[in-house]
């Protein structure tokens, strides 16, 4: 048992070391950023971290919240694992952190919503509030909605609303192909597309509804061959990351001539791996690089540039999450409105809040905690120095607006039945 004692001692010292810093730092309001910082998805989490850090620095330099209290982003690496996220959540709570934010992985978000709900129920005096900036499973603000969860990204159905609106207005499209990753999100995309196309353009034929294994396909040519065989004029895909890049590359190579409506063609790291295959792809986002040019707001362009200078690594990883700025600005408002940093008060202050962002007016749903925001369909084309001024990730291709869905038009029927404390 000698060794056990030794280990116990070691454990004790390290645990003390790890926790000792919590005693001193009551001053700033800390927000735990729980996302992958290592492993295969580390780059995505890293970029998110930088976005939040940049916004926190900006807010702090403008005077902080609640009359001078600073914001601090505390990163926690969850390796995009639900289990590790729960461990990190406990870790954050132990350190006295009451606000968490996360975005990558529906599995992680689902686990966190559940865990926060249970924690708050079991520890009403130590409640925690969770801001979701990117996990888009509709259920999180519908049947699984929870008072302690706010979402700042448009969910699948909302984005599909924007895409199908755009397709509706393009009469030349009468055959659509759906290709998605074989998991919950991909299935949600496919289901939404089928439902909405049927409502809006019953004449359109769905000529393919393919699910491929997520993250396992090395070469999409067989799939592209199949799309080609179907004769589709438009393809809708929810693919992201490598699955998007590889699909894009195969499409370009085979010379497939169809309109690609994607969720994440501009997703972090995707353009740089696709290179010239970016040309012509469409994406749905709440913000894009050339919005400031199109709407002639040089101030916003400056904001984008100042981020890229600090964290953009020479334009390789530029500002991407338009909504993180929105979220942080609304958070400042909510703190100030609530007059305290109590999660419950902040949550109530956030409900129904309206805000004008650099991409339009947004509203936080009071009933379901889902942010309503305008959505843009943009198409990647070669930069021309004029309207297509900025490219993504030094590819030479930048987005240009093709269609816009207004804030209120993105709303979908809500099935949320929230219990409030």
């Amino acid at each position: 048992m000698k060794l056990k004692n030794m280990l116990l001692f070691l454990l004790g010292t390290v645990v003390c070391l790890v926790f000792s810093n919590s005693a001193f730092s009551a001053d700033p309001i800390r927000i735990a950023y729980i996302d992958p910082l290592s492993g295969a998805f580390g780059d995505v989490g890293d970029a998110g971290h930088k976005h939040f850090k940049f916004m926190a620095d900006k807010i702090n330099s403008e005077g902080g919240v609640l009359g001078g209290i600073q914001l601090e982003i505390v990163p926690f690496d969850n390796k995009i694992s639900a289990k590790e996220s729960l461990v990190q959540l406990k870790h954050a709570i132990d350190q006295g952190i009451r606000f968490i934010t996360q975005g990558n992985g529906s599995s992680v978000a689902g686990a966190l919503i559940e865990a926060v709900k249970k924690h708050n129920k079991r520890n009403p005096d130590k409640t925690v509030l969770y801001f979701n900036y990117a996990a888009v499973t509709p259920a999180f603000t519908q049947e699984k909605c929870d008072f302690w969860h706010f979402r700042f990204d448009a969910h699948v159905d909302m984005k599909m609303q924007a895409i199908t609106d755009a397709i509706k207005k393009t009469p030349s499209i009468n055959k659509v192909y759906l290709i998605d990753q074989d998991y919950v999100f991909g299935h949600a995309v496919s289901a939404a597309a089928k439902k909405m196309l049927k409502e809006k353009r019953p004449d359109i034929e769905i000529v393919g509804d393919t699910f491929h294994p997520i993250g396992k396909v090395k070469d999409f040519s067989p799939y592209v061959a199949k799309i080609k065989k179907s004769g589709a004029q438009a393809v809708i895909t929810g693919n992201w990351g490598a699955d998007m890049s590889l699909l894009g590359k195969s499409v370009k190579e085979s010379g497939l001539d169809a309109a690609f409506y994607t969720f994440y063609a501009g997703g972090l790291g995707t353009p740089s791996t696709m290179g010239s295959a970016m040309n012509g792809l469409r994406q749905v986002t709440e913000w894009h690089d050339n919005l400031s040019v199109e709407e002639d707001r040089p101030g916003d362009a400056e904001f984008r540039m100042s981020y890229n200078e600090k964290f953009g690594e020479g334009g390789k990883v530029p500002w991407y999450y338009g909504r993180i700025r929105t979220m942080m600005e609304m958070l400042v408002k909510a703190f100030n409105k609530a007059g305290s940093a109590d999660p419950k008060a902040v949550a109530y202050a956030m409900e129904g809040m309206e805000h004008t962002t650099y991409y339009g007016k947004v509203v936080m749903g009071a009933k379901d905690h889902q942010l309503l925001q305008p959505l843009y369909i943009s198409r990647f084309t070669k930069t021309d120095g004029k309207m297509v001024k900025y490219d993504r990730e030094n590819t030479g291709f930048g987005p240009t607006t093709e269609a816009k869905t207004q804030t209120m038009d993105t709303a979908t029927p809500s099935s949320c039945n929230m219990k409030r404390p």
């Binding site: 290592s38 492993g39 295969a40 998805f41 580390g42 780059d43 890293d46 074989d182 393919t210 699910f211 491929h212 294994p213 993250g215 396992k216 396909v217 090395k218 070469d219 040519s221 067989p222 799939y223 061959a225 199949k226 080609k228 065989k229 490598a242 890049s245 590889l246 590359k249 190579e253 085979s254 010379g255 497939l256 972090l268 790291g269 740089s272 791996t273 290179g275 010239s276 390789k316 990883v317 990730e393 030094n394």
Partner: protein
């Protein structure tokens, strides 16, 4: 028709790339009995090295230099790592390469970061060579095919026609006997390990830009390469070739079919109730089984014919 021809060509390209990777592994296994878990990591390193070199000296230099560097690295791993653990047996060797794979991935993260690299097909090879029916066939695909066929031919000639090749083949059966005839077997081992790694590196150089160069590329391809050498018969090059093409064809063609068990039952006029037992099972389509097939094939093969298609012995 178009679909079949294109798919056949695609299977051929992917299959030959797979063969280039697995040929090195199968030689290493055949000679030393080492299942090299880090083999796919050398493939990944090949892509990263090529990216780095092509930044300074262009793709064509990288095509030559990167595999050589990987080969030297592989030789060093054999000389200073594997030889040390050899006395602890095959399990220790296997675990050593397991740890090595882990470390290589971590070092790649450290040096090149977590973002997928912008390693693109060189512009001199970035055009369409011919149009088949309605589809473009990119020249780079043909280039990959040419390189891998070239490698196959070179490897075949090297192994059957040269003195070194004969020594290597002989070492597959009686390494001691080869040593006794005055050939330095440890050096041969080092050479084969280095050569096998170089082949993996070359696959990385030409595959990395075509597919994607990211820290997860080793994990993605690693297990498949194992499947190839098991199905082909451990230590058999011909087997590895057949298995590579087989797996590539299976995976490519599976995509084309969206039949499920429901359709099968429909043939017999059986209809499932609204809530069948195991609802998922009936809905699985052939096209979704792509990732499953190689492993299924491998397990079945190990049960029915553990030697593999062309193997002459069990592990």
């Amino acid at each position: 028709m178009e679909f079949y021809v294109i798919s056949l060509l695609n299977s051929l390209v992917f299959g030959m790339l797979l063969f280039m990777l697995s040929s090195g592994l199968t030689l290493i296994f055949g000679m030393m009995g080492v299942l090299n878990f880090a083999h796919a990591s050398f493939y990944m390193l090949g892509a990263y090295f090529a990216f780095q070199i092509s930044q300074f000296a262009g793709f064509w230099t990288a095509l030559v230099i990167a595999p050589i560097l990987i080969g030297l690295l592989g030789a060093a791993v054999e000389r200073f790592g594997l030889r040390t653990v050899h006395k602890h047996g095959h399990v220790a060797e296997l675990l050593f390469t397991f740890g090595l794979a882990f470390m290589i991935e971590e070092l790649i993260l450290l040096i090149w970061g977590r973002v997928a690299l912008n390693y693109q097909v060189p512009s001199s090879l970035d055009f369409t060579i011919f149009r088949l029916f309605e589809s473009d066939f990119p020249v780079y695909r043909l280039f990959m095919l040419a390189i891998s066929v070239f490698i196959f031919v070179v490897l075949y000639l090297l192994l059957t026609k040269t003195r070194t090749g004969i020594i290597i083949q002989a070492s597959l059966t009686h390494p001691e006997g080869v040593g006794m005839l005055g050939h330095n077997v440890p050096r041969i081992f080092m050479l084969v390990f280095g050569g096998g790694s170089a082949l993996a590196g070359l696959a990385g150089v030409i595959g990395g830009n075509y597919l994607m160069t990211s820290p997860s590329m080793a994990i993605l391809l690693g297990p498949i390469v194992f499947v190839v050498i098991v199905i082909g018969g451990m230590g058999s090059l011909t087997g590895a070739l057949i298995a590579s093409l087989l797996i590539a064809t299976l995976q490519t063609f599976a995509v084309g079919y969206d039949y499920s068990l429901i359709d099968l039952l429909a043939v017999f006029n059986i209809e499932l109730g609204p809530e069948p037992w195991f609802p998922d099972l009936w809905r699985i389509k052939v096209e979704n089984t792509g990732p499953l097939l190689p492993y299924l094939l491998m397990v079945i093969m190990l049960i029915l014919r553990p030697k593999g298609i062309m193997g002459e012995r069990e592990s």
